[in-house]
Amino acid sequence: MQDKSSSSHLDLSRSARIGRPSQGSGTEEMRQTAHLLPYARREDFQVGRATELSGKDRRFYRFLEILPGVASWGTLIGVVLASIYAPFFAAYFIIAFAMYWVLKTAFLSYHLRYNWKRLRHHMSIDWGVMAERFEYGHLYQVVILPFYNEPRDVIEATLDSLTRVKYDAKSIIVVLAAEERAGAYGVEVAEEMKNKYGNTFANFLVTVHPGDIAGEVAGKGANAAYAAEQLRTKVLDPHGIRYNHTLVSIFDIDTVIYPDYFNCLVWHFMTAERPLKSSFQPVPIFNNNMWEAGPFARVVAMSSTFWEMVQQERPERMATFSSHSVSFQALYEVGYWQRNMVSEDSRIFWNLLIANDGEYDVIPLSYPVSMDANVAPTVWGTIKNIYKQHRRWTYGVENFCYVVYHFTKNKNISLRKRIIITLQQAEGYWSLVTNPIMLFILGWMPIFFGGRVFHETVLSYNLPLVVRNLLILAMFGLVISSVISLTLIPKRPEGKSRLHYVVMALQWILVPVTMIVFSALPGLDAQTRLMLGKYMGFWVTPKHRNDQKASS
């Protein structure tokens, strides 16, 4: 296969708005949207923010944007006010909440430990043998790698890992998706990679996402959607590759895949109840540069991994996150990833769920992909980058507005499912922001603001003791985290002392700090921005590795 326009800048304004033409004749519009699922043909299907709507819909969407911030701020301010005006009630609430936290920790630790067991088992399986019972030679694996200005060695490590997979390389199509905004560097490095790896795979397509497409939020979603359409028109259609025979894996550029990833994916695809109505979620382990990262970066990175591991054991609560795989057919039916918002990795799942009237799944692979922990050259730089990265992730609260908005429109989805998902999402975004602050800061408020009558009581004195003891109990969950994290780090490089293992085990005492600084505060920041209509753009996480050798 040949890529004839690997670096051409085609005017894809049509495909940029594919599925959602706002102008033109009715016939033309029908032709453009014919491939979309019926619900996905709505003009508001890929709405990104309230300002893209009008009338009642706009007001309702705006209300939904305001709701999470108001709920979180209301809770936090409510706890402070209750501490002042109803300190006894606040104290009972805090004790109940601390207890709930202990049990929640136990509940999540149970899931985490189980998934760790399953992850290790999956890593020990020869998935190639497992998949032998299926006829899958017709399947193509497409790997889309959007990038901005990440270092050469990061891109190279990712492509190197692709060359080492236990899968027929001639069934793999690589799409290296550069950004015009990144200047000459992007095109230059993409071409360089194509020259180096082009002959290894079935096809190596380089796309350059134009920087001036109206209506887009500059970011991964817009780039990936552009690359997907380029793939369709430049590779799949010309070579007659069927969309339902094409599995697309969209990976962050620092994603190093494990050798059996595609075999594992194929097995799950072939055994899925409805493979074309499913996304496949690996476990992102942020450990490529774990030995260069500091304790804060390691704890935050591993916490993100653990959260995904927990979710793997309760797939009904899952949405896709970061690197994941999905059939091209499914993507094409909803017009690819949204180009007008930040958290496109999760949004694509909600697009698919809603367009398929609720009949869509996320299938956990319990198989890892390795990514970079957020590391900058300085500690302060690392802290700032982690904060910004998590603010972007927690800006995923924009999905709450999208989901609830469309749940009121698409009545084909069962009411029960709509209610459950709405409550799960609301609780998730609310607890993300409020729980750490309530536990570690506001829990002490009645003691300071409770007034003289409250201060005289045994309850006032016992409140910090009871809460402290419950939190210590909850911290035992961190022991599990500590043990599991040690098994997930790459082999110790030469020159790194064994003492690092001790530090890596003890670093988990930082969790109360990281929960507030890198989870609650960026989450509150993101929700406040959405509440005030100060919409966020896509912030590209800088990739930095001291050691150019990435683990695999």
Partner: protein, 381 residues
């Protein structure tokens, strides 16, 4: 190879069972945690009932002190653990004492009410106070030069030399002494001498004894105010009055009367009340909004406490540095620290003993004058 991984995803059934088990645990244990936090305790003596308890919070001012409740050692204070909160205390009157070797012992009998915590601030002054002598002159090497003998019962912390002549040409004037002399002069109504005259007087005095003998007793007339507490004198008696926000008022200003242990063999307050679980439930509902033992309406009380000087006239008085709980009072036979808290009685401990002493507090330090020399009293030991 069976075609399926051996480890299957966690089944919904397992997850549900675990979830409901934890939920049940939450429902069952939460009331127990709340009852515990309020001050209820479970009786294991066979009656299997809950009973009400209170607490005592004692703050000590020194490390290495021992806190006793009802003659039982409960805490030895350390640098970051100078206070102790005792919970599960039966309602009634309890004797608390705080002691430290070579220090005066603080003793108090305190009332404990159900579901409430009784607070008290203890203090332990050293038996032999340590002072730094400040004289008008220093040698060029910085040593204090004494030309008078001290009348204080204290040990000194600084080196000094005894002046063998009245010649001062080889000595340096101690600027600290000069400034402190001015401090003592500002509110000493009986002295009209200039600084030069006072310094000269000290230099020409042979001993402290001659100086103190000629001193006159001056009544305190100053009013002091610190963090909402006002100290004032009326007819030779010193009073402490809380003038700040009632919300910040220490409990002892409007404390209820209670019977001391020495006057009754039975605690005045109710003994631990054995209650059936159903009674506790009814009370618990009430406790959601307010404590069992309501604090008295203190707006009706007069938050004024007399400082007990045992009949002696206070020459001067001031707050003990950085404290609104203790008062420094210069009495006829020495400088005393007296607590304002008059529950039961007021503990009174000598800071330094000596006749006709005067005291000033400046910059968190306590300075004493015997009319001849000045002394900086070392407060932390």
């Amino acid at each position: 190879m069976t075609g399926e991984p051996d480890v299957q995803p966690l089944s919904k059934r397992h997850r549900s069972v675990f979830f409901y088990a934890l939920f049940g645990l939450f429902i069952l244990t939460l009331p127990l945690f709340i009852l515990y936090a309020i001050g209820y305790r479970f009786s294991f003596d066979g009656s299997t009932t809950f009973f009400s308890t209170g607490g005592i919070y004692i703050a000590a001012d020194r490390t290495g002190a021992e806190i006793y409740i009802d003659n039982e050692l409960v805490r030895e204070t350390r640098t970051f653990r100078r206070a102790f909160y005792a919970q599960s205390i039966e309602p009634g009157t309890h004797r608390v004492h705080v002691q430290k070797p070579n220090h005066h012992t603080w003793v108090k009998e305190l009332p404990v009410y159900p579901h409430l915590v009784t607070e008290a601030q203890a203090f332990n002054m050293p038996l032999v106070p340590q002072v730094r002598v400040i004289s008008p002159w220093r040698t060029r090497t910085g040593e204090t030069v004494l030309s008078a003998t001290s009348s204080l019962s204290a040990s000194t912390t600084n080196d000094f030399v005894i002046a063998t002549s009245t010649a001062t040409s080889t000595l340096l004037l101690d600027t600290e002494y000069v400034s402190l002399t001015a401090l003592f002069a500002t509110s000493t109504a009986t002295s009209s001498a200039s600084l030069y005259e006072r310094v000269s007087s000290v230099l020409s005095t042979g001993s402290a004894g001659t100086s103190t003998a000629t001193s006159t007793i001056a009544e305190a007339t100053t009013t002091k105010e610190f963090q909402g507490v006002r100290l004032y004198e009326e007819a030779g008696v010193v009073y402490a009055r809380f003038v700040g926000s009632r919300a910040d008022m220490p409990y002892y200003y409007c404390a209820e009367d209670y019977e001391l242990l020495g006057t009754s063999t039975v605690p005045l307050l109710s003994p631990p009340i054995a209650q059936s679980a159903s009674v506790v439930d009814a009370e618990t509902e009430d406790l959601l909004l307010h404590p069992v033992q309501q604090v008295e309406d203190d707006t009706a009380c007069d938050p004024t406490i007399m400082i007990n000087t045992a009949g002696q006239i206070a020459r001067t008085f001031d707050f003990y540095p950085n404290s609104t709980d203790f008062v420094l009072v210069a009495l006829e036979d020495g400088i005393y620290v007296i607590e304002i808290d008059d529950r039961g009685w007021q503990n009174k401990q000598p800071l330094v003993m000596g006749e006709n002493l005067d005291v000033r507090v400046e910059g968190g330090n306590v300075y004493v004058s015997d009319g001849t020399l000045l002394y900086a009293v070392q407060l932390e030991t």
